[in-house]
């Protein structure tokens, strides 16, 4: 056999071919067809790459033919220029120049294999079978070459690290993500490879019997390789370690683990960091802890299909620059389940970790300032990730960027900055989450087709304080969520963004937010259907004011401030709802005016705008079909459990509320009852006359007599001693008045008077009305300011008034006790006010006894259960006397005590005062009644126009007074009488039919006698006090006479 014969193999006989036509024809057809397909593929694109980025919403595409590139090559080259990548045309120049010829040669070789019936046919077909693989390998080389050889001088070279996009599948380049896929030509080439394998199989079956050798080894290998790839992996092992295995046991287990192994960690604290670089499962039992020791990342996952479950992962580093994390994942399909992450800067950090699952984890960040915290969860360029049932508290944000097809379900994010922060995440679903007490509930940006459904978003109150904020979002839907107690329920900024997209908010509850919905005035095509706006401070706010009320559609929403009606009872208001409050409108335009929120002035403004339509603003919106009743979105089962748990805590607060409310009411009632309590205590139980009173005839003890100190306590000499002592001249001055003057404006009430009153003296201040008696008494009391010096028992009555007044009891001219007070109550009040220093035991009992004595002494026993308003003037004056004597002061000041009393009452009071005087008290009283003065006073100070005109014994002072004698002679005797009086030394004045003569106090009768002793007939006469404010003996009404 020649070499050629041995190469081409045996020929098939015609009989055999006829008998087994398909048996020999099939490999021929398959291999020939393959050659044809390979030739056809020359004209078709082999490979496609799409680049997606936010600024290229439709993406960029490049198509690779065997010899050239098509598509957005220019744009891509333009972008590549910025990062320093060479133009695509420079890639694989040699390959492209040879490719057509090479494929043609390969196709010819396959076609040639048809004629070779030995194993060499496989060698001829092998280049064609391997061609697609070669193509991809070469392409990957060039991708690597271009991605890793960037020009460092390019403008954005520092913004991007070297990269290698995958030749097939998804990859990322900066903010782009790439999708590379085989194009038609390559599929044909692959199909050709397959056909070659099938063809060779049939070729071998047809010709093997004809040759001695079997199939070439390479072909067997080629057939086996794909099968090997499909074969099941080796059975995984289960490794188990515990604290007893030593410190490095976990690292060792990880190092020794094979793909698919499960490492079960039974308790213990394991110091990291840990790197999982192979697809293993780490499962914790009994609270195994992975401890980062406060530096770096605790667990780094650098292989796909890793699972970590049930660990406590704690103490990462604190470097924001290095993004220290609890768990950092950089490969796809990780499953992080039911772990507790605490004291970690970043919680779980996913980079390029597609299709990963984070479920049931609890994450609590480090106790740092908000700005220095990391993110609880960060999902970065990771598509198809599921976040389910995680609980996050006290972290910064939950960030989800550049990732598609995310599902965020049943998570609870609390007390962070951004509950959720989305950017460039198309097609995400956010369901049944609870976002509470964050600065912002969820902020969603630059994404499409996002669905926010059934979440509870409440208490988000940062400076932005959005329940959910949407910026540049297209075709987003916000449905059946509860927005409660946020600063802003829903915030819209340039959403929807594209002209053909929309935004829908439907069936949400917006309650108790500062702003139910806030939007920029440029927002258009947003639709709000069936939402319930309940008691938001401002239901809808349009920032900056203005906007077009028709730009967005509002229908079937419930407005808690809707003022219309539903006559038809169909649940829809019959009047449209307009939002047109003036203060809101002002606040939208000038936000600083919100400072006046809750001020009644704002309500006044709104009232004014309703009253005067001229100042009523344009409505922000009109809901033509307002719903009468609010609707509350149902809560998902997952969320309901969380709310129920929270509800129990709030219920506890409710019982606290009840207790606090009751305590407040009780305190109010106690305050209310406090005066009654005191009064009841003061009501005497056995204080009736004769029932236990000590039988004193006068309540206070007998006057303590001469004292050497202001103290009211002291020994009490008997009345005889007192009377004896009164006659002595050695008694010390108790009241001293020096240069006392007092002006009321320009009117001088007192013009510098001086006097002293000694202990036990009874002094009357005598003078006409306006003479200064009352002012002098008030100065003694220290209740009005004055010039000069007034001391009471050594104490300045103004500056040390309290000390001075302890020595004084005061009875005013007009008693001004509270009419609704009882007699005892009044005494009790003044008693306590004066300090109630009683002698004896048991203050209360002694005090009450004393009160009874006092009442008996002033004759009020029968009236003690009356109210002050029921007492006559005389009884009131007695009560006033009783109050003045309550703590037994040594000095009693009385201001015209009988001025308002009838004669009987006056007599009784004077008798009472006589008794007081007999007790040895120092009495100072003002009066213009001589009988009082003569009966009571041992000394008279005569005041006239604010000055002392006389000071001495009553009889002599009274005797020195001047009077006017008014004579009315018979009509014909007027002039004779005048002449007679003139001749007798008088100076009569004629006032009408009267002659008025001023007479001396000690010889008032002389003028009268002179007239009476003559022939002159006198019809009448009267005697008055002299007109120059001199005191008069009697005080009849002076006749009104015009002279």
């Amino acid at each position: 056999m020649t070499p050629i014969e041995s190469f081409v193999g045996p020929r098939v006989s015609e009989q055999d071919f006829a008998a087994h036509r398909m048996h020999f024809l099939l490999p021929t057809l398959l291999l020939a067809g393959t050659a044809v397909l390979l030739v056809i593929s020359i004209f078709l694109p082999y490979w496609r790459m799409e680049l997606h980025a936010p600024q290229y919403p439709d993406g960029l595409e490049v198509l690779a033919y065997l010899d050239h590139l098509e598509g957005d090559v220019r744009e891509i080259d333009g972008l590549n220029h910025y990062i320093g990548m060479r133009p695509l045309a420079e890639a694989a120049e040699l390959e492209r120049s040879l490719s057509i010829a090479a494929v043609a040669v390969v196709a010819l070789l396959v076609a040639g294999a048809v004629f070779i019936h030995t194993k060499w046919a496989a060698f001829l077909a092998l280049p064609a079978a391997c061609f697609p693989a070669f193509f991809l390998i070469d392409l990957q080389y060039w991708l690597y070459n271009f991605g890793t050889n960037l020009d460092p001088k390019a403008p954005l070279s520092s913004a991007i690290d070297p990269f290698v996009p995958p030749v097939l599948g998804q990859g990322t380049v900066g903010q782009f993500y790439t999708i590379a896929s085989p194009a038609v030509g390559l599929w044909i080439a692959f199909a050709s490879s397959l056909l070659i394998l099938i063809g060779l199989y049939f070729h071998r079956r047809a010709y093997k019997p004809l040759v001695d050798q079997g199939l070439p080894v390479l072909l067997v290998l080629a057939c086996l390789l794909p099968l090997a790839a499909l074969s099941p992996p080796a059975a995984a092992d289960d490794l188990r370690i515990g604290p007893a295995d030593g410190e490095g046991a976990l690292e060792a287990a990880i190092r020794s683990a094979q793909s698919g192994d499960t490492i079960t960690v039974d308790g213990g604290v394991w110091r990291g960091p840990f790197v999982l670089d192979r697809p293993v499962q780490l499962v914790a039992e009994h609270g195994a802890v992975l401890d980062g020791g406060g530096s770096g990342t605790v667990v780094s996952i650098e292989a796909s299909d890793v699972r970590i479950a049930g660990f406590i992962v704690r103490r990462s580093g604190s470097s924001l620059d290095d993004e220290n994390s609890g768990i950092a994942i950089e490969k796809p399909r990780a499953r992080i389940e039911n772990n507790v992450l605490e004291d970690v800067l970043f919680g779980i950090y996913l980079r390029h970790a597609d299709d990963s699952v984070l479920s049931g984890n609890s994450i609590r960040g480090k106790e740092l300032d908000l700005a220095r915290r990391g993110d609880a969860i960060r999902v970065w360029y990771s598509h198809g990730v599921l976040l389910e049932g995680n609980a996050v508290e006290g972290s910064r944000d939950v960030v989800l960027w550049y990732s598609e097809r995310l599902t965020v379900r049943g998570n609870r994010v609390r007390a962070g900055r951004y509950g959720l922060h989305f950017m460039y995440c198309d097609g995400a679903r956010i369901e049944d989450n609870r976002l509470i007490d964050n600065s912002v509930g969820a902020f969603l940006m630059y994404s499409r087709r996002l669905r926010l459904i059934g979440n509870v978003i409440s208490g988000n109150h940062g400076p932005s304080g959005y329940g959910v904020g949407l910026k540049d979002m297209d075709d987003a839907q916000v449905r059946a969520n509860r927005f409660v107690g946020n600063r802003v329920g829903i915030f819209l900024d340039n959403t929807p963004r594209e002209i053909d997209s929309t935004f829908l908010a439907e069936d949400n509850l917006l309650a108790g937010n500062d702003f139910g919905v806030a939007m920029m005035p440029s927002v258009r095509r947003a639709r709000f259907f069936g939402n319930s706006f309940v008691d938001n401070l401002e239901q809808v706010s349009i920032s900056g004011g203005g906007g077009d009320s028709e730009a967005n559609l509002w229908r079937r929403n419930h407005w808690s401030d809707y003022a219309g009606f539903d006559a038809e009872g169909d649940g829809t208001g019959d009047l449209p709802h307009h939002l047109d409050r003036l203060f809101e409108s002002l606040g939208d335009r000038r936000p600083e005016l919100r400072m006046f929120l809750h001020s009644p002035a704002t309500s006044a403004l709104d009232l004014a705008s309703r009253a005067f339509p001229l100042v009523r603003p344009q409505p922000k919106l009109t809901d033509s079909l307002p719903a009468m009743r609010p609707s509350v979105p149902a809560i998902g089962a997952l969320l309901g459990a969380g709310l129920a748990a929270a509800g129990s805590a709030e219920g506890h607060s409710g019982s606290g509320l009840l207790a606090t409310g009751a305590a407040l009411v009780l305190m109010a009632l106690l305050l209310w009852l406090a005066p009654l309590f005191r009064r009841r205590q003061a009501t005497p139980g056995t204080g009736l006359p004769g029932t236990g009173s000590p039988g004193k005839t006068f309540a206070p003890s007998p006057n303590p007599g001469p004292r050497t100190s202001p103290s009211p306590k002291g020994t009490n000499p008997n009345p005889e001693q007192l009377m004896a002592s009164k006659s002595t001249t050695a008694r010390r001055p108790l009241i001293s008045v020096r240069a006392l003057s007092k002006h009321y404006g320009k009117h001088m009430a007192l013009g510098g008077i001086d006097f002293e009153i000694r202990e036990g003296e009874s002094v009357a201040l005598w003078g006409a009305n306006g003479a200064g008696k009352t002012t002098a008494l008030r100065a003694l009391l220290g209740v009005v300011p004055y010039d000069g010096e007034v001391t009471v028992d050594g104490a300045d009555s103004w500056r040390q008034g309290k000390v001075a007044r302890r020595r004084l009891g005061f009875v005013p001219q007009e008693v001004t006790f509270q009419a609704d007070f009882g007699v005892l109550e009044t005494l009790e009040y003044f008693c306590r006010l004066r300090g109630a220093r009683w002698r004896g035991v048991g203050r209360r009992a002694a005090g009450l006894d004393h009160l009874d004595d006092l009442l008996a002494s002033v004759g009020l026993c029968d009236h003690k259960n009356k109210r002050v308003g029921e007492l006559s003037g005389g009884l009131r004056q007695r009560l006033a006397l009783a109050t003045a004597l309550l703590d037994d002061p040594p000095i009693l000041l009385l201001d015209e005590p009988t001025a308002n009393l009838d004669s009987q009452a006056r007599g009784e009071l004077l008798a009472l005062l006589q008794t007081v005087k007999a007790q040895g008290k120092t009495l100072v009283f003002s009066s213009h009644r001589p009988e009082e003065i003569l009966g009571l006073a041992a000394r008279v100070i005569h005041l006239e126009a604010g000055r002392i005109v006389a000071d001495g014994e009553p009889h002599s002072v009274l005797a020195a007074r001047r009077s006017e004698l008014w004579l009315r002679p018979a009509p014909g005797d007027l002039q004779p009488a005048r002449q007679l009086l003139q001749s007798s030394g008088f100076e009569p004045r004629q006032l009408g039919e009267h002659l008025v003569v001023t007479v001396a106090g000690d010889d008032k009768v002389a003028a009268l006698r002179a007239v009476m002793s003559s022939e002159i007939k006198l019809d009448d006469f009267d005697l008055f006090a002299a007109t120059s404010s001199a005191p008069g003996l009697v005080s009849p009404t002076r006749p009104q006479v015009t002279s």
Binding site: G459, R487, M595, S599, L658, Y829
Partner: protein
């Protein structure tokens, strides 16, 4: 001048008793309680439909109530007290007792304050009971802080407003001689604090374009604004709702804002009270 607690106590009780015999005061108290009850009940009833009732929301409406009623109560009661006694002549009788003028002013202040505070406690206590009975907090929205603590802080601030208004009323009372004049002045002061001041400042702000700092401090001259700002801070933990001026306040003063506001309110209590004491020390019973 020495001040004896015993005398203050006696005067306080007397004033308290007088207040409860004052039909105007009873009217105010009744109105306050009815309104507080009504507001909490309406808040619950309104929230029953939505399933969310919050103490915070009710308290926010109570801010209005406090701003309107409490100053009216305190100012008119305070204004009527000393001027009325002076006019009736009973002030002389009181000052003729061994009490100092400082004690008289302080005693009256304490008594009136106790009276107004008892109204506040009653009104808010009843409101709380209604809310507790209505299960208000069991479904309350998360407020980020203990709502009850916030409410109690609010109550404390309302008490400060009561003291401010009583102090102002007493000051008016000591500076005037006739109760009719004192009543008129106190009503004008109420109008000024509640309405005219804010309206004037709003107008000024619109015309002069006051920046946040000046607007804040202009507003905070008014004790009712101090109360309002502090109450919002207590109930909500922040002032974002008050716009730029609120943000300026929280960012500039931070944690010190509440003490600052409380200090201002205390100043509003002490200064008029000081003037009252000074005036009575100077005038006595005349």
């Amino acid at each position: 001048m020495s001040v004896e607690a015993r005398i203050l106590w006696v005067l306080t009780l007397k004033e308290l008793r007088d207040a409860w015999n004052n039909r105007w005061f009873l009217l105010y108290t009744g109105a306050f309680c009815v309104l507080a009850l009504g507001m909490s009940w309406l808040s619950l009833a309104g929230a029953a439909g939505s399933g969310f009732a919050g103490l915070g929301r009710t308290a926010a409406s109570l801010v209005h109530l406090v701003v309107l009623i409490v100053p009216l109560m305190g100012l008119t009661l305070g204004a009527a007290s000393l001027a009325g006694e002076r006019e009736r002549g009973s002030l002389i009788l009181l000052l003729a007792q061994p009490v100092s003028r400082v004690e008289v002013v302080l005693g009256k202040f304490l008594g009136l304050a106790a009276a107004v505070l008892s109204s506040l406690l009653l009104g808010f206590g009843l409101a709380l009971l209604v809310m507790a009975g209505g299960g208000g907090l069991r479904t309350a929205g998360a407020a980020g802080q203990d709502p009850l603590a916030g409410f109690l802080a609010f109550l404390g601030l309302a008490a400060l407003v009561a003291l401010v208004s009583v102090s102002l009323g007493l000051c008016i009372s000591t500076l005037t001689s006739r109760s009719a004049v004192a009543g008129g002045v106190s009503l004008f002061a109420w109008l000024l604090l509640v309405l005219l001041g804010d309206l004037g400042l709003m107008g000024t702000s619109l015309v002069m374009r006051l920046d946040a700092r000046h607007l804040l401090w202009s507003a905070l001259v008014n004790p009712l604004q101090e109360f309002k700002v502090a109450a919002i801070l207590a109930l909500r933990g922040g002032l974002e709702v008050l716009g730029p001026a609120g943000l300026y306040a929280t960012r500039t003063y931070g944690e010190g804002l509440m003490p600052l506001l409380v200090s201002l309110l205390v100043l509003w209590i002490l200064v008029p009270l000081g003037i009252s004491i000074w005036s009575l020390e100077r005038r006595g019973a005349q």
